[in-house]
Symmetry: C2
Subunit: 102 residues, 2 copies
DNA sequence: GACTTGATGAAGTAGATGCTAAAATATCCC
DNA sequence: GGGATATTTTAGCATCTACTTCATCAAGTC
């Protein structure tokens, strides 16, 4: 494991991206539409994940398809799964708090 | 696992601190003498590790003794061990390069 | 109580990070 | 080639982080 991998998955946003890519291959645009931030922001996160070796890029015409790299994500799966759960819980309770606030 | 834990161990410096504390209990000062940065810097890192639940503090007179918390570090041990190895290799090759440079 | 030692707190700074908007690149289609 | 679509690159900005120095606190020693 390289030390870029760890700081790559320390970011909430990148963990969320990685979670989606762990499920299925997606285009950058498809991925961007899941988030509220701009396309370039997503592209930058993908770049970081790619350098860290956590995602793979495949070109198909004018699309670029991304997937999580099983070789590098695999060893991190236990940690990531725990984090993904914690993240979802956190998001859920945050959404609830928002709801109450209204 | 909380999300502070992951960003806590994403830092090279904090991983090094945690490596030492995983071996033996140490005072803050003892720890600080292992590094080239200032005492307060170490103290700040310990604070972050403590909030993340990765280290425990025990007071003994005017000393504060720190250890890695096995409950929280345990589940991360595989990842950390891999990283510690990579870190040491990186440090070693960096030292070599320095040597050649002279 | 004054002094020393071990440690944290507070304020400031330089550099890294995450984002945005605008520009550039690449591929497909006509 | 020229236009449309998918995506990245660049430049700039605001915020966060790791560190420093100086100040403070707490416990033990005389």
């Amino acid at each position: 494991m390289n030390h870029q991998a760890l700081s790559a998955i320390a970011s909430d946003r990148r963990r969320e991206i990685l979670r989606l890519l762990w499920q299925t291959e997606r285009t950058a645009g498809d991925l961007a539409s899941e988030f509220e931030i701009s396309w370039p922001a997503i592209s930058q996160h993908l770049g970081i994940l790619k350098v860290a070796g956590l995602v793979r890029e495949r070109r198909d015409g004018r699309h670029r398809l991304y997937t999580a790299n099983p070789e590098t994500v695999g060893p991190l799966e236990a940690v990531l799964t725990a984090m993904w759960e914690a993240d979802l819980d956190r998001l859920a309770s945050h959404a609830e708090a928002e709801e109450r606030r209204k």
